[in-house]
Symmetry: C2
Subunit: 142 residues, 2 copies
DNA sequence: ATAATAATTGGAATCATTCTTGATCTCGCG
DNA sequence: CGCGAGATCAAGAATGATTCCAATTATTAT
């Protein structure tokens, strides 16, 4: 566990390799951004943020990095309807609640000891690789 | 005019108005297609199908009709990742299972008497307007 | 019937994402 | 150390689903 570049204060230590993925400078910064900014940013949000540290990074590279991280199960991709994809580093199984008033996305955890299979009639023999639960709504005004 | 499923007549009577939405000829045909072809077609699938009956209909109109039907809670829009939206006339609360091998989408019903709130820790005061549950996976090979 | 309103059409525009191509970097190996 | 193969990156072009726009047509209310 080494801080790759000594010029940069390593608020978050990122190893040189995660899950078999070589952590290049760009991937590190993309990942670091997600760890620091846990509000489910879009690729473009990440792009703008990462530019502070890597002024020459391209949007295509941010997309590449995000895809590589998703592919290696280091981060998760979250979709609401067909809006821009959002990304989060929370790997625990959880859903998302989109507040239609504020636009804020909240992580929704499962109640301990429960799972989707408790409420859904899954087809016999189905092997689930991925689950996406998205809710939209608002908070009751008092 | 061939009916895909022999149980379902090619001609389905559609009222002139549903849920306050004027059912124009185009909306009728779009809706009829969804009722007959319950395999979650995309807008383009519907477009191609409807052209048999309305050769001059435009893709934009199909999109308009689908949106109007969704807005009036006559059909549901279903999204997988960021792929093309799909549409289905099954209004009961249900999720979807995408078979990664065949591409077939299966409706997944809730077990009777259960709801998502049984397994999710919803934030206090949250009012849910819409729920989307999508699973991807495959069937275990024997 | 006539005016006002809503719906339809075809094509242009949008916009997130992916692709392409050439440059650059990294790693293994002599 | 130096070289070559294979990754990775950058910049911009291309893609593709969806939306927008302006003009036409249909429907409804007066």
């Amino acid at each position: 566990m080494v801080s790759i570049n000594p010029d940069i204060p390593a608020e978050i230590e990122i190893p040189e390799e995660i899950s078999g993925l070589r952590m290049t400078r760009q991937r590190q910064e993309v990942y670091r951004t997600l760890m620091q900014q846990r509000n489910h940013p879009t690729a473009n949000d990440v792009f703008m943020r990462v530019k502070d540290r890597l002024p020459h990074i391209s949007l295509a590279t941010v997309y590449n990095c995000l895809e590589a991280l998703v592919q290696h199960d280091i981060i998760r991709q979250v979709n609401f309807e067909r809006e821009s994809s959002r990304y989060c580093p929370n790997l625990s199984e959880h859903g998302h609640f989109y507040d239609e008033v504020t636009g804020v996305i909240h992580d929704i955890d499962f109640k301990p000891g429960t799972s989707l299979a408790d409420v859904l009639n899954l087809p016999p023999g189905a092997v689930i690789d991925d689950v996406e639960i998205t809710l939209r709504g608002k908070f009751a005004s008092l």
